[in-house]
């Protein structure tokens, strides 16, 4: 299969890596390892919930996260998988009015729940005010974290309005204000590798009608 001009050096980097990995895997197996018993079929379950106002019913492997049910089963790929461990916030969606990490929640936990994803907040022709503000204030570069940022930002304004306290409040019995410090603290669960943070805070301030 090798081209005549390249002789024995014509081995792709990928082929080398694949064979290297196979060798490593084989040598890691002790001689006395028994073949694992054939796994039984993973458990599945039916689950129904509402996504962006529409009823959906799925039968899922119980291991399916809410995130994977949205992306892989309902093809709502606006919600992103970043770390898949609740550390980055890219998967943030709004469930029963509260933002959560959809990667740290099983789909079967959400029977009867109302889920809102970025697709449910606005459409290209009819942007949610927060989406429009992200455009106006350059609240993103690559855009990967943006759906999670926007779902979080919309919820943060509601949380401040509802008087949910935060770490940066001096008087925790008082109502929190729509300040730049509050936005930044409350958005700390959404990581942006492009570093659009200051513009995100400005977009949020614009929607809140306050000055950052």
């Amino acid at each position: 299969m090798s081209a005549p001009s390249h002789s024995s050096l014509d081995i792709s980097r990928r082929a080398v890596m694949v064979s290297g990995a196979a060798t490593a895997a084989m040598s890691a197996l002790p001689a006395d390892v028994q073949a694992a018993p054939a796994p039984s079929k993973p458990a599945t379950m039916p689950v129904s919930f509402k996504v962006n106002g529409k009823d959906v019913s799925l039968t899922l492997d119980t291991r399916t996260t809410l995130l994977d049910s949205l992306r892989e089963h309902l093809k709502l790929t606006g919600t992103k998988k970043g770390c898949d461990h609740g550390q980055c916030g890219a998967c943030t969606v709004i469930v029963n009015g509260e933002r959560i990490n959809s990667c740290l929640s099983l789909a079967v936990q959400h029977q009867g729940d109302e889920v809102t994803t970025i697709e449910g907040l606005g459409t290209p022709d009819d942007l949610h005010p927060m989406q429009a503000a992200f455009v106006t204030y350059d609240g993103y570069q690559c855009g990967y974290c943006t759906p999670g940022q926007i779902c979080s930002a919309v919820s943060v304004l509601k949380e401040i309005e509802a008087g949910i306290p935060s770490h940066v409040q001096e008087d925790i019995t008082a109502a929190p204000a729509f300040t730049n410090m509050e936005m930044r603290e409350r958005m700390s669960g959404n990581i942006c590798r492009c570093g659009a943070y200051s513009n995100i805070a400005e977009a949020m301030a614009a929607v809140a009608g306050a000055k950052a």
């Binding site: 796994p39 609740g86 919820s155 949380e159 669960g189």
Partner: protein, 316 residues
């Protein structure tokens, strides 16, 4: 993730019985810690009993003038509760110092108490870890230990318990209420709830298999200035290097509990008699017998200075 079956329990006793009768079964509340650990196959339950329908999500006054916090009250709801903010401010401050807004919306009171260590060697399944796999050894001892325990540790484990909320609950003399599979209830003082590692670090707390937390109760409010200072590597969304929960009265007397230093919230009541004499006097009692590593010995001085800053703030 290993495959598992799933059910939703209707009552606390039913949930407890469901977990007790099946080896490998676990309770599932918010899932924010358990699912993470299941993805890494550090936790490998074969059956999950979801407790979200148990109606344990209320905060009520007790007959004694304290507060009964349902096991399923979310961290956000507990921090936002008007009575908690007014009478147990240290608890609100501790909760909002932890995790992120998204996690606090899903994480529950009982789940927070049951969260597992963030020791990097517990998380790395390639490493020996007596907490994850009893008898394999402790890679943290002699390893990267900057984040780990300085007191109460053993030759088998130097993991810390990561909760902020629990440090405030320990300070407030909270009690954990449980129900067992046979329907019997019991109360466990927060002081006794989390275990020190000894030679069985795999057991984080005193719960028996199938024993379900139903509530956490707080005694009557004690007044004073409520503060929680958390020192960490970034300003938000990081675990504590050291944290101090304190309630300080006008005359300078008070209580102090420390997070990030041990396998449980660390409080030495006898040392609190020295509160009026300053942070050094208290810290020397609190950290007597500490066994830090070279990498984390800074925590003892950091804890003293954090307490000093809390005391200064209380003076106003």
């Amino acid at each position: 993730m290993k495959s598992f079956t799933y059910e939703r329990a209707k009552t606390p006793a039913q949930a407890a019985a469901a977990v007790a009768k099946q080896q490998g079964a676990k309770f599932l509340a918010g899932g924010t810690n358990l699912l993470d650990l299941m993805k890494l196959e550090i936790e490998t339950p074969t059956h999950l009993v979801d407790v979200q329908d148990l109606k344990l999500d209320r905060i009520e006054r007790t007959d004694e003038g304290g507060l009964r916090i349902g096991a399923l009250v979310t961290n956000t709801a507990l921090a936002a509760d008007a009575t908690v903010r007014r009478d147990y401010g240290v608890l609100t401050r501790a909760i909002v110092a932890g995790a992120s807004g998204q996690l606090r919306n899903k994480a529950t009171t009982a789940g927070n108490l049951l969260q597992r260590t963030r020791c990097p060697y517990f998380y790395d399944t390639n490493q020996p870890c007596n907490k994850r796999k009893p008898g394999t050894g402790c890679a943290a001892i002699g390893g990267f230990s900057r984040q780990l325990a300085v007191i109460g540790s053993s030759d088998h484990c130097i993991a810390t318990y990561p909760s902020d909320m629990a440090v405030a609950m320990r300070l407030l003399d909270a009690t954990v209420e449980t129900v067992k599979a046979d329907g019997k209830t019991r109360s466990i003082a927060m002081a006794d709830f989390h275990r020190l590692p000894g030679d069985t670090p795999e057991r984080d707390n005193e719960l028996e298999r199938g024993e379900l937390i139903t509530a956490v109760t707080l005694p009557r409010p004690i007044g004073g200035t409520h503060l929680y200072h958390k020192v960490r590597d970034r300003a938000s969304y990081a675990f504590a290097l050291v944290s101090v929960a304190a309630v300080i009265q006008k005359d300078g007397s008070g209580r102090a509990a420390f997070g990030g230093v041990a396998a449980r919230p660390w409080r030495v009541e006898a040392a609190e008699a020295a509160m009026t004499q300053g942070a050094r006097a208290v810290a020397s009692g609190v950290f007597a017998g500490a066994k830090p590593t070279e990498e984390n010995q800074f925590k003892i001085l950091l804890a003293e200075r954090t307490l000093a800053s809390v005391m200064a703030q209380a003076k106003g």
